[in-house]
Amino acid sequence: MLEKKFEAFWDVFINYGGIDTVLEGLKNTLLIACIGLLIGIVIGTLLATIRVLPKSNIIVKILDKIAIFYVSIFRGTPMVVQLLIFYYVLMPLAGLHLKSVPVAIIVFGLNSGAYISEIMRAGILSVDPGQMEGGRAVGLSYGTTMTKIIIPQAVKNILPTMGNEFITLIKETSIVSFIGATDLYVAFQNIGNNNYEYMVPYLFMALIYIVLVVIISLIIKFMERSLRKSDKSL
């Protein structure tokens, strides 16, 4: 039975453009997750820096409140809801006409920014306060010490957690079909739709997700190892 189902799948995959759909889906999945992560890192670092800034003046206090609000909004609602709100509520209200993949990238970036800011904040707080004092004492500004000393060490500490965030993003891309984007899930669903045989396509889909995640894990392990060179002990 399985053999027949596999043949049916293979037929669609090779002869009826299935492979193109899958490549398109894979491309979108990776685009959304990767660019989303990059946007998230930028937003997250910015928010985390605001959160750890000494609350010495009113502007910082207001920015801090905004950052807290931002994080609570994006952590407090499911990403599907954010996707739908952005696509079906905010965009029409603003008169914007964006394609679904760019929208997905933006929403994934905004969302992961909230999570990454918390990860980054914990990472910054985990760096010994003496590092900041050491920097300030040799006449470096707060900002320079932050970017040259604190954040590089924080990033090293949080790399495993960031890897998890990336893996989560990859897997979460399967919700972008809600706004009509073609990701891996949609691609395999389309293949199944050809002959109403979903068993093999979905198994294949799972396999591809697993392979993606394993590859990412390996890359992160490699990065951790190369960043650990400053930890070598006597």
Binding site: D128, G130, Q131, E133, G134, G135, R136, A137, V138, G139, L140, S141, T144, K148, I149, P152, Q153, K156, K229, S230, D231, K232, S233, L234
Partner: protein
Amino acid sequence: MIKVCNLHKKFGDNHVLRGIDYEIQKGEKIVVIGPSGSGKSTFLRCLNLLETPTEGEIYFDGEQINDKKCDINKVRQHMGMVFQHFNLFNNKTILDNITLSPIHNKLMTKDEAEKNARDLLERVGLSDKADAYPSQLSGGQKQRAAIVRSLAMNPEVILFDEPTSALDPEMVGEVLDVMKRLAKKGMTMVVVTHEMGFAREVADKVLFMDEGIIQEEAEPEEFFNNPKNPRLQDFLSKVL
């Protein structure tokens, strides 16, 4: 060179410094001793504004540094500090630790800064550690490297905050040696320490702090042999 007027520091309800007036002259070696919690480290950290005074003024070369108009980053480039826990940058090699600020603040070119750093490292016996990371060094080596880091800025004064307190006993000597050599060269130094021998040998003035004020100030001979303040007498009887 450094003038402190009516310095107060509160942490919440905790009144740590209760009015300190003191003046440090160029070339002087001041050693500050006192029981823990007496405010001596806080006093030192106020001098380069790592702690912001609650009240009072601090002047460095005639400029009030706890004033909003003062660029503290510039001031700190002339005021070195050596910490109990070294505070070397863990993500940088020893050479980068030393050259980061001179290069970043455009006090030296990269080549000048590196040459200067290597010269200084050689003088403290660490020339082979330039490319090592802090985690690869022993405590004594880290502290010597930290001293070099502050020296590389050509500071007018170096503040030492219990520089040997976190070291294994056999490493205390190597750090004190470097400090004594600095003192001989005429560096202005303010040292918070528990090393009475160092105070006796190097200090021009020894200060005894307790309960947030300077209880006694004297030259080491007088300070150790003829203490006047009963708290100091009590303190010395316990530590000597």
